[in-house]
Symmetry: C2
Subunit: 199 residues, 2 copies
């Protein structure tokens, strides 16, 4: 019987611990590993260990990298005077896709959230402050998510940074491009009205 094979159950459990993967999917994925040549499993195992060992936070911006200082922070083309502060390394990918931002980033690795027991000291705020101490930075763009926690974190950091004479900005709120206004929520629409521009 398949149910009592210890090593298979262990593999299923490992898959099931991944986010968004349920028991049934984990089973399907584990079986797919068994159906393929042993080298596939080996490559997968190596990729797991390799990635986890080689990738760490960039010394400067705290994003993920396999270098000492990431390719953005060490690029001559990027404007070190503007720092875009984000919650998560994945947010950087979203900004890079716009091809509109030539500054550098700083990853907080979370937001202040008292309910989840996450305070300012659990985030990479000290590291941000250390970067600002150099005096090279002209502007901080707060690009935390437009949620209650994201807002709170943005205003917490702006209160720390403003006294240093550094400009602090926040992403614009408004209606998303291509959206249908009749389905826009009232908060977004109110913010879009508030922030209206002359054409």
């Amino acid at each position: 019987m398949v149910n009592n094979i210890v090593s298979l159950n262990e593999l299923i459990n490992q898959f099931a611990r991944l986010p968004g993967i349920g028991k049934k999917t984990a089973q399907r994925l584990a079986f797919s590993i068994l159906e393929q040549p042993p080298e596939r499993a080996k490559q997968f195992a190596e990729a797991l260990i390799n990635a986890r060992e080689k990738i760490h936070f960039c010394k400067v911006c705290q994003c993920l990298t396999d270098l000492d200082v990431c390719s953005i922070c060490s690029s001559e083309q990027r404007d070190k005077g503007v720092i875009c502060v984000v919650e998560d390394p994945k947010d950087i990918m979203a900004f890079e896709r716009t091809r509109e931002f030539s500054g550098v980033y700083h990853v907080l690795h979370g937001v202040i959230s008292p309910l989840d027991n996450v305070g300012p000291d659990d985030l990479k705020i000290k590291e941000l402050m250390a970067r600002l101490a150099g005096g090279e930075v002209r502007e901080i763009i707060m690009a935390t998510n437009p949620t209650v926690e994201g807002e709170a974190t943005a205003s917490y950091i702006s209160r720390l940074v403003k006294p240093m004479g550094i400009k602090v900005t926040r992403l614009a709120y408004g209606v998303p491009v291509g959206a249908d206004l009749q389905y826009a929520d009232e908060y977004t629409l109110a913010r879009a009205l508030e922030g209206r521009n002359e054409i």
Copy 2:
């Protein structure tokens, strides 16, 4: 930047090669590995290699096992005179859940499918024939899927087995328990009519 980390991309690609896992999900899963302690990645890697190395086909029934002969084939409680022939090891789990079958199984590992270049020699049919040669088997239950290929495979095997004087049966067709008749397809309903039983 995250996009040019070789070891991360390799991990994302490994996840994306799993069935039903797209690029976005693969990315999410890979990041979840990076967010967890290195021991987790190591455990996962070990589970992959371990499962792939230890699990192989049962010598007798060709199902998956980490033993020489699987626990069903080596059980004293199972009736070796009745073999239920299935396409896939996962089908065994479905039958075992019914707790109604006390015979043994044989896994074909596929069905005859000329379009996919799968012929009888690509399946575990030789192994089934070898089991039948012992003379102990009274009945073969063909439990391939109720698809065109499953039917073709069932009738191919039954043509081989019948001359040996062994009874060959096929799973009953009919309406599924708990189904709503108005949504039943005409083929299933026709088979259910055909196979009606007196009450």
